[in-house]
């Protein structure tokens, strides 16, 4: 069930109605309803993988309790590593086994040995990377004595399987989400209307921006030989907005949906394309994953402490692992590697925490220097996205070589130019709104409620009209595959 589907448009009001009208007085019943709805939501993709989700939940719930009840460090360590190995084992089998097996075979064939590894033919369970990371952070936090284990299975299961975040995050932390699940929730008008507003903006970004940009990005990436360098450059930019609209749109819908149930999720995006350097970009893009890697990988590795060599090593590890998390393909690893390379000058010059606040805070326009920095960062990001989008490294290199050809300075030409111009205009409109609302958690949060009612409602209807008018065939969210 996709957030942008008719099924979800029916499912959400039903759950909302039952939640606030039927079981509103009983927290246990509310949580049970959330859990059952989440399992139903997940089973709409493939009910067989529901067993994997339940097993993974039970495993972490049980090992959490076992670690807490253990008297000896040895026993705690045993349960800790049992959970880590099984969780990563599932991820390894479903997501990475084929990649490692075929890469190993290719490496051996380079040495003259012909090996034919048996590959497994199984689809990747939706959201496995997300709910595994939920479980892992919970187990690590208990092991490190940061939190107490949750004794109620339903509460813990809602933490892992809560449907707004189940398939593509944000990757929550027990310290943030569990207390909200355990607390009695009452309906808050302002929170609910804010949630609807965020859902609306998320749908706009997904359906109007991402799905329309996808048409052109797909056209260019699938047939790069048919287009000029300038067309391919535009294709890469289209992909940059596709992935942003897709994933930040998804996150907005997830956060907005959760607000309807009185639960606040972690912010996942904070206007990343207005970043002035790559470090700022990574503090604003997929924030819940970046902070997860920071807390559970980067800091345990030593973080930015230690000598330069250590810092460089840790930077490369975190970016490569982050790339690999996205998928079992060399393209993602190179994408991670490129970001690590972009990061190095900031690390060496100790400027990686230079831009903490949003650009031009309190001002309407950015300075010339800021504009230049934003454009350079965006350019570098677009370049890295080419590897992320391409099917293989050779495809990415071919695409890049075709961009940097003499046709780079030609006027781009491709089918459906008229529609592309409309897509560009709509993207500019999105950027303007995002710029105006950049100091908030999401673009519409504070700017729209300030407007007078007629203007506000006209704006909402206009957004709904755009979603309806420019909507394409229902398209999967990119991050569902991760």
């Amino acid at each position: 069930m996709l957030f942008n589907s008719l099924g979800f448009a029916i499912f959400l009001p039903i759950v909302f109605f039952l939640y606030w009208f039927v079981v509103s007085k009983n927290l246990k019943a509310q949580n049970t309803l959330l859990l059952l709805s989440s399992y139903y939501f997940y089973s709409c993709w493939d009910w067989r993988f529901l067993f994997l989700l339940i097993f993974s939940t039970l495993l972490d719930y049980y090992t959490g309790l076992k670690m807490s009840n253990s008297n000896s460090q040895k026993s705690r360590r045993f349960w800790f590593w049992t959970s880590i190995c099984i969780n990563l084992g599932f991820l390894g089998v479903f997501k990475y086994y084929n990649f490692f097996a075929s890469s190993f075979a290719e490496a051996l064939s380079g040495l003259g040995f012909n090996v034919h590894p048996s590959l497994i033919n199984v689809i990747l369970p939706v959201g496995i990377s997300f709910y595994t990371f939920h479980g892992l952070s919970y187990v690590v936090d208990i092991y490190k004595n940061r939190i107490e284990p949750e004794k109620n299975y339903i509460t813990y299961a809602v933490f892992v399987s809560y449907f707004p975040l189940l398939v593509a995050g944000p990757i929550e932390r027990a310290t943030h989400l569990l207390p909200q699940i355990k607390r009695k929730r009452s309906f808050d008008y302002y929170q609910a209307t804010d949630g609807l507003r965020q859902i609306l903006w998320g749908l706009f970004k997904k359906i109007v921006i991402a799905d329309n940009c996808a048409q052109y990005a797909n056209m260019m990436f699938e047939n790069p030989d048919h287009f000029s360098g300038s067309g391919l450059l535009l294709g890469a930019i289209f992909f940059a907005f596709q992935i942003y609209g897709d994933f930040s749109g998804y996150s907005d819908i997830a956060l907005g949906t959760s607000k309807l149930f009185g639960i606040e999720l972690l912010q996942n995006f904070s206007f990343p394309y207005f970043s002035r350097d790559i470090a700022e970009f990574w503090r604003r893009w997929h924030i819940s994953l970046s902070s997860w890697f920071k807390d559970y990988l980067y800091i345990p590795l030593g973080g930015s402490k230690g000598n330069t060599w250590m810092k460089v090593r840790n930077t490369f590890i975190i970016f490569i692992v982050s790339g690999f998390w996205h998928g079992a393909n060399w393209t993602f690893i190179i994408w991670g590697l490129l970001n690590a390379i972009y990061f190095l000058p900031l690390l060496f010059s100790n400027k990686n925490r230079h831009h903490i606040e949003i650009v031009a805070k309190g001002h309407f326009f950015p300075s010339t220097k800021e504009t230049f920095s934003i454009l350079i960062t965006f350019g570098l990001t677009v370049f890295a996205w080419i590897f992320f989008r391409a099917e293989s490294v050779s495809d990415a290199l071919n695409y890049i070589s075709k961009i940097f050809s003499s046709s780079l300075f030609e006027i781009p030409r491709f089918p459906k130019m008229g529609r592309a111009k409309t897509t560009i205009l709509l993207t500019v409109f999105m950027l303007i709104i995002e710029w105006l609302g950049r100091e908030n958690n999401y673009a519409l949060e504070k700017i729209v409620p300030k407007w007078k009612a007629p203007i506000r409602y006209a704006f909402y209807y206009a957004i709904i009209f755009c979603i309806f008018w420019y909507g394409q065939k229902e398209q999967q969210f990119i991050y569902f595959q991760f």
């Binding site: 008719l6 606030w20 309906f187 008008y189 609910a192 209307t193 609807l196 359906i207 409602y457 909402y460 209807y461 709904i464 309806f468 008018w469 909507g471 394409q472 065939k473 229902e474």
Partner: protein, 295 residues
């Protein structure tokens, strides 16, 4: 909570009321359509008849053909035309063998409904409208969008310009049949996974209903097969040609078979399944001779 629900209902009620109003107006407008009173011959069907018969060359006739029209749509179109127009005496209904193929169901119950069926939405009874809303699962957004487009068009356009009506159109001025395209079209029309596609029960059902309707209204119905390229015709599965012959015999249909007319290559468009503008001129003149000899 009360305030939230109240505001939510009001928010959605506003556009819903407008849509409902538009729907009522569109229904009324479509049902008020009247052809010119001098029209006594009508050509109905899909792109084959639409591209083949130039009604300007034949007095007192009108081509109502429309690309991808199915017999479901034709039935309700004929019903509307015959409602208050006793002057209409003859109907030429276009036929091509693929009209019998379940491939056509895509346009009434499948994904292509989103692109084709919506033009006929306001012409259909409520039951068929509801079925259309349930079709095109993958293209539901496009279906809804096209329905709203149709609603707006039906409200602002003049009745005579409504989308479902259809007219003669052939823009293929420099074209000729291409064997590769012919083969592709034959595969698309009659084969799926290397097996012959079964018959479309829906099209056959509505073809029978058209026959009954014409009998009831005392209108002469003639089935007209537009020309087909010899390669295309030779590749139509025998199952289809036999069924067609039996069907016409059983229902005692008047048939005007132009499918074996000898035409030059440039009288067809690339798929060999439709005539070009040049072909249309020849076919219309030939057709004119045939009907005047019948009279």
């Amino acid at each position: 909570m009360k305030r939230f629900i109240k505001r939510l209902i009001l928010f959605f009620a506003f556009p819903l009321v407008i849509l409902l109003l538009g729907y009522v107006i569109a229904l009324k407008k479509v049902n008020s359509y009247q052809p010119q009173k001098n029209i006594i011959i009508c050509y109905i069907g899909d792109s084959h008849i639409q591209k083949a018969i130039d009604d300007k060359l034949i007095p007192n006739s009108k081509n109502f053909g429309k690309s991808a029209e199915q017999y479901l749509h034709s039935y309700y179109k004929i019903k509307l035309l015959l409602k208050d127009n006793p002057q209409i005496k003859k109907i030429y209904l276009g036929f091509s063998y693929h009209n019998l193929s379940a491939y056509s169901d895509e346009f009434t119950d499948g994904e292509k409904t989103a692109f084709v069926g919506t033009k006929y939405f306001f012409l259909l009874p409520a039951e068929e409208q509801f079925k259309m809303l349930k079709s095109a699962k993958e293209n539901r957004n496009i279906l809804l969008k096209n329905l709203v487009k149709e609603l707006v068009n039906s409200n602002i356009k003049k009745t005579k310009d409504l989308e479902f009506i259809g007219f003669y159109q052939n823009k293929f001025n420099n074209s000729k049949a291409d064997v590769k395209s012919i083969n592709k079209r034959v595969r698309q029309h009659f084969y799926k996974d290397n097996k012959i596609i079964p018959f479309s029960q829906k099209n056959i059902y509505y073809l029978k209903k058209i026959i009954d309707l014409c009998k009831e209204k005392n209108v002469e119905l003639t089935i007209i097969n537009s020309p087909l390229h010899p390669i295309y015709k030779s590749k139509i599965p025998a199952k289809y040609t036999n069924f067609y012959m039996d069907f016409c015999k059983k229902n005692q249909l008047n048939v005007l078979d132009l499918s074996e007319m000898k035409l030059a290559e440039d009288c067809y468009i690339f798929d060999g399944d439709h005539v070009s503008a040049k072909g249309s001129e020849i076919v219309t003149k030939h057709f004119q001779k045939l009907i005047s000899s019948q009279n």
